[in-house]
Symmetry: C2
Amino acid sequence: MSSEIRLTPTSYIVLGLTEAAGEATPYELKQVVAAGLGDFWSIQHAQLYSEPERLAAGGYLAERREKGGRRRRHYKLTATGRQALRDWLKEPTADLAELRDPGLLRLFFGAEPKPLSEAQLPVHRKKLSDYEALLAELGADAPEAIRLPLEAGIGHEREWVRFWSKIAK
Amino acid sequence: MSSEIRLTPTSYIVLGLTEAAGEATPYELKQVVAAGLGDFWSIQHAQLYSEPERLAAGGYLAERREKGGRRRRHYKLTATGRQALRDWLKEPTADLAELRDPGLLRLFFGAEPKPLSEAQLPVHRKKLSDYEALLAELGADAPEAIRLPLEAGIGHEREWVRFWSKIAK
DNA sequence: CCTATCATGTAATCCGTTACATGATTAT
DNA sequence: ATAATCATGTAACGGATTACATGATAGG
């Protein structure tokens, strides 16, 4: 069976998180997203219900549904799903992220820089210090998969703080 | 009339570009996007046809259609549209951009850092040097609305180059 | 015991992307 | 002249967001 579906970043997020968990319900996925990934790639919780369903229809996930009670759905990777994830991980993408920053967009269209900087600075500072605290807590022995994205986040938040500070002053 | 529509970032981009142009066709908008804005906030060209239509339906744009020939549609802001843009520009947003970087996402799920860095570095370096060339060309007297976003772009591209270089080495 | 919040999910809407299509220019 | 590319637009699909809804659990 397994109809053709297109795999989006969201798909790979669900595949990746599910593999890490072994088996997971949408709600568990939501927890994991909130615990870290969501900082740099957020997902609406409704998608954590619809996307696994899509992936199951495509043959990438297998669904097991509880018989009684809440009848929760549990998902795990199929061989196809595991392979798709592997292939994606192996592909050294040259795609770049776009900035898509709401504040920058306003600047571009002529907003006053000063008030913008005053709104942006505290939230960037907060995010930066959250990241730094997390990194400190994890220590130097944290796995690369966690440490590197975190360091990237820190670098970019520092850059934002620099940028808006220059304007605020 | 004018049905209720929700204004998205895309809406404000169309409003902002249209105001700057005085009057514009979708194709002209496309040109302007390609000329700069698209670097940090890209738009599919089809949206530059559908979004003005939506905005016109909402009463934010007025449409004038050529009688003969190509029957092109020309759009300009209405008073409502101009006001909406003003309000948006005045609002000192505290919303932050997310990284949403395809390479980082792969790192997070355990991809090999080295090959990724080798794919990412050249494109980031290219983008960085494009930006720097553009800034040099514009000179120090460029309007803030252009210069600041460009400087932000440069800062972040430098950060990416730093990040991936550390990994590549 | 009541209420607030967490847990868990479904449904509808709609924006954004992709695919398709054709007339006009420019290059060879 | 013909091919290629630019200019200009429409249509369809689908993923993502928003809104709605209800059962369980914990706090006061």
